[in-house]
Symmetry: C2
Subunit: 259 residues, 2 copies
DNA sequence: CGATAAATTGAACTCTATCAATAGGTGTGG
DNA sequence: CCACACCTATTGATAGAGTTCAATTTATCG
């Protein structure tokens, strides 16, 4: 059973055994954090990096209105801040959503990682994918109605969780409240509730007891307008690009061409 | 008169003269692109990198509904895709918004740049800042009402344009249609129009003939909830962090603390 | 079992979209 | 220089999506 990080990186790059060993070496200083804990605050200049081994966490920014916007999810295998050092200061907060187990990676270890070309490259790949996901989230929140936003989020999570072995049979554990889902897709918990019920009524999904089941994958993908490409699985490096292949709505129809 | 790229990078890092020379060497293969041209399409695996020298461009993603969402602006000094090679395939489209003049940078040149440690670092800094801006845009679209979205966008653009010498005296050229502004902040052109009028009526800004004037900077910043930190100017490297200092609303009041 | 958080429901209200029509600007060809 | 065509901005009326408030029910947890 590989560790979540190497599992993730291997899904996209081929790494020499020595690199994988290095990744495993790092797995000693593990610790737990209860749900709803801030791991790093906006404005901090953190000294070390976190890797999530188990549980859900998120990046978020708080507004003066009291509302907070979740800007990304961190699931097992995700690094919290591989590259903070370059920016020097956090521009957002990282909090656990559920009880998490994490691994702290010292800057020294991180430097060792970045010295290995294939690891450094895989690491950068990972943060560029994060950026791509961010773009898709912006599209989601900026241009899709409530039901589609949720549908899209569910598709993405299915693919991401499946890649780390946390989803099977079109269903996975989604330990978030409707309020948190709302903070993610820019909706009220009340509205999230009603949208979920509508989706349930249409036989798309069931979300019950923190367990999400996708009843009609094909239609969910279609409703969501979900195109897996932005997750960049299996692009360029690895031969194994099968993951999630099944969850995608063919190519986007071309828009009116710009002259 | 320095070139826009080195100007931008110098604002955050100290570069040896040889690095600056290298950046200037690259400035030969310049070309023009008319407004509304796609430079790179979603799905492409581009062979070279573009740098904007003059004009506005954007990254966007199109939906099957026909709507497109602009996910970031590219202004002079911005590189279109420093690191596409790592992902291999574009997950979004890059188009000009106005007539642009660009510089094409070959992969060879790019490799040369990335071989210089301080340039590579500055380059990565630049893409991490882009990611930070993306997060802020997500917050903008996900949690702010129409007027605030526009206000926030105008603040950001002021700071960014000023950093490359394209804004003075709280005013700058904003050569976008209201429809394009809408595509940016997730609103209809009609609604953008009304929001702009309201802002004008309140004495916040005037946008006329593609020229934006900020009438009341302090209040605009306050309305927008604009906090300059996410642009990461002057963080860590350079001594010159004065740029845009004046356009910021003090620290965000702490939210209710998570236990 | 009681206490607290989460989910659900209904009604009223707000913001934003849609539709449709008018006015203003800009550029082109005659 | 004018007239026409086209794009952009503006306005009004109407509909829809999403929010707010408040109350109720259902889970969850010690």
């Amino acid at each position: 059973m590989p560790n979540p990080l190497s599992r993730k990186l291997l899904s996209v790059a081929t790494l020499p055994p020595s690199d994988i060993e290095l990744l495993d070496m790092i797995f000693d200083q593990r610790f737990e954090a209860p749900a709803h804990t801030n791991l790093i605050n906006e404005g901090d200049a953190p000294a070390c990096i976190h890797l999530i081994t188990d549980g859900f966490a998120c990046r978020s920014k708080g507004l003066s209105s009291g509302r907070r916007q979740i800007v990304s999810y961190l699931v097992p295998g995700d690094l919290c801040d591989a590259h903070v050092r370059i920016l020097g200061r956090m521009d957002h907060t990282i909090s656990t959503l559920t009880d998490c187990t994490l691994v702290r990676i010292s800057q020294t270890h991180m430097d060792q990682i970045m010295e290995r070309p294939s690891l450094a490259r895989a690491m950068w790949w990972s943060t560029l994918v994060e950026e791509s996901v961010l773009r898709e989230w912006l599209v989601n929140v900026g241009s899709r109605p409530a039901k589609q936003r949720l549908a899209h989020l569910f598709c993405e999570l299915y693919v991401r969780l499946r890649a780390v072995g946390l989803a099977q049979d079109h269903s996975y554990s989604l330990p978030l409240t409707q309020h948190e889902l709302g903070e993610t897709v820019g909706l009220t918990s009340v509205h999230v509730n009603r949208a979920l019920q509508a989706m349930r009524a249409e036989g798309l999904i069931v979300l019950h007891q923190k367990e999400l089941e996708i009843l009609d994958p094909a239609r969910l993908v279609e409703v969501a307008g979900f195109h897996i490409a932005y997750l960049h699985f299996g692009t360029r490096h690895g031969p194994d690009s099968s993951v999630g292949t099944e969850l995608d709505a063919g190519p986007e129809p071309r828009r009116k061409k710009v002259p």
